[in-house]
């Protein structure tokens, strides 16, 4: 229950920040993708199932809130959380740079995947060049934010894990 609350709070906070603060603070025309950042961080911290759930919940929330075609972000982030969580299990590097690299690569791949799915559904309203540009800039932006967000989420996750709860 604690985890559900934590996840809801984190997702809500990210959504609000995304639509208020970061809609104004943009870097060369691109905004950070906080939900991607969040999903990847949780996947790294908690593993594939947690990553998938975070991605699904966050993606759904974002899809329903923004006027986007619903479900695509949820699909993208579910797969992204799962993939990053799986990849994390096979990498045995204690380097603190690892989350940053995972976030950068994951964000880029995730946004491109989102673009491809949108394209297949006939929902992609921007050019490919723009998509890649945004993917790249968002990846950089997210990577910059990682050192700030990652420790915060780790502490929150550890705090909620201190008690034994039902495993998802």
């Amino acid at each position: 229950m604690r985890r559900v609350l934590l996840l809801s709070a984190v997702i809500l906070t990210a959504l609000i920040l995304q639509t208020t603060v970061f809609s104004e603070v943009n870097l060369l025309g691109a905004k950070p993708e906080l939900m991607y950042l969040l999903t990847i961080c949780f996947a790294v911290l908690e593993g594939p199932s947690s990553g998938a759930i975070t991605g699904f919940a966050g993606g759904m929330a974002q899809d329903f809130l923004l006027d986007a075609p619903k479900g695509i972000t949820a699909l993208t982030l579910t797969l992204l959380g799962y993939a990053i969580g799986m990849a994390r299990q096979y990498i045995v590097s204690p380097s603190p740079v690892l989350p940053v690299l995972l976030v950068a690569g994951g964000t880029f791949a995730g946004i491109v995947f989102y673009g491809i799915v949108s394209f297949l559904l006939g929902q992609l309203s921007v050019g490919w060049l723009y998509l890649f540009r945004v993917a790249l800039l968002s990846a950089v932006y997210n990577a910059i934010l990682t050192p700030l967000v990652f420790p915060l989420l780790r502490r929150a996750a550890e705090g909620s894990r201190s008690r034994r709860v039902a495993r998802w």
């Binding site: 603060v21 199932s49 809130l65 006027d67 075609p69 479900g71 699909l75 579910t78």
Partner: protein, 285 residues
């Protein structure tokens, strides 16, 4: 074994979540903007928008600060452009005001022209320079012999008599003002109908001499042009009944044969800008 079951359950979970996502996509795709999913989205928006508003209010200045920082060069450029525009508009405004003043003056001149009667032909001219020395009270106007101006022609303004032309070029002429010490004008007192001679005395008021000493002169009495000749002294160059000025002082103590008056000119010679030159000869006295 336990690890494998966990992995399998994770895979199951992911498959389930992906399926839900796909179903959502499909349903949303088929229903467009009117389906239950859309209204669910609207509900979510209604819940979160007050929160967004609050956060936005708090963080807006911060965000503004950063985006301003990034946009600083373009803002500076914009400021320069706007400043230039303000300058241009101010110039335009001043020009507009000057044009308006000019228009009012022209209208007054037009009224004067009508009062002179249709027989008299006139031409409007712009004052382009004032007299060159401190001992010469002349103005230069922007019309000359090319429009028919010749030496001796009277010049008036909307306020009253200005002077007469003393030198003519093709497109400019010099006008001697009535306040020039060399200028003499035959004038008539408005009420008593007495005539006299007005001569200029530079910056101070005109001197009016040769007035019958028996006449009572009221202060502030108007003096107009007399419009006839006084042989040997001056030819009356001017059409009759043009306002010259008002009596400012009567100096009658010492002389028994004539009365001396001072007359303040009606025209403010320091701010002349548009004048009328009377062209037709038959109008002269």
């Amino acid at each position: 074994m336990a690890l494998r079951t966990r992995a399998r359950s994770t895979r199951l979970l992911v498959v389930a979540l992906v399926s839900i996502s796909l179903v959502t996509i499909t349903v949303d795709y088929r229903e467009g903007n009117d389906g239950p999913l859309a209204s669910l989205g609207d509900a979510a928006l209604a819940v979160i928008s007050p929160l967004q508003e609050v956060v936005s209010k708090v963080t807006h200045p911060i965000g503004n600060f950063f985006s301003t920082l990034v946009r600083l060069p373009s803002i500076r450029h914009e400021r320069d452009v706007l400043r230039e525009r303000v300058d241009a508009l101010e110039t335009q405004l001043a020009e507009g005001r000057a044009d308006q003043a000019r228009l009012a003056e022209l209208e007054a001149l037009f009224g004067l022209q009508e009062s002179l009667g249709n027989r008299i032909e006139t031409t409007a001219a712009q004052v382009i320079a004032n007299g060159v020395s401190n001992f010469e009270w002349t103005i230069t106007i922007d019309k000359g012999s090319s429009v028919g101006i010749s030496v001796g022609m009277p010049v008036v303004s909307s306020a009253g008599l200005v002077g007469h032309v003393v030198r003519v070029g093709t497109s400019s002429s010099v006008v001697q003002l009535i306040i020039d010490p060399d200028s003499s004008v035959a004038g008539r007192l408005d009420v008593s109908r007495q005539t006299g001679l007005l001569s200029g005395s530079g910056p101070s008021d005109l001197q009016m001499s040769l007035v019958d000493p028996t006449v009572d002169v009221a202060p502030d009495e108007h003096v107009v042009t007399a419009g006839y000749r006084i042989a040997g002294v001056a030819e009356s160059l001017y059409p009759p009944n043009i306002l010259i000025g008002t009596v400012s002082r009567v100096l009658d103590e010492d002389s028994a044969t004539e009365k001396l008056l001072t007359v303040r000119p009606a025209v403010d010679f320091s701010s002349l800008s548009l004048v009328l030159v009377v062209l037709s000869r038959d109008a002269r006295g």
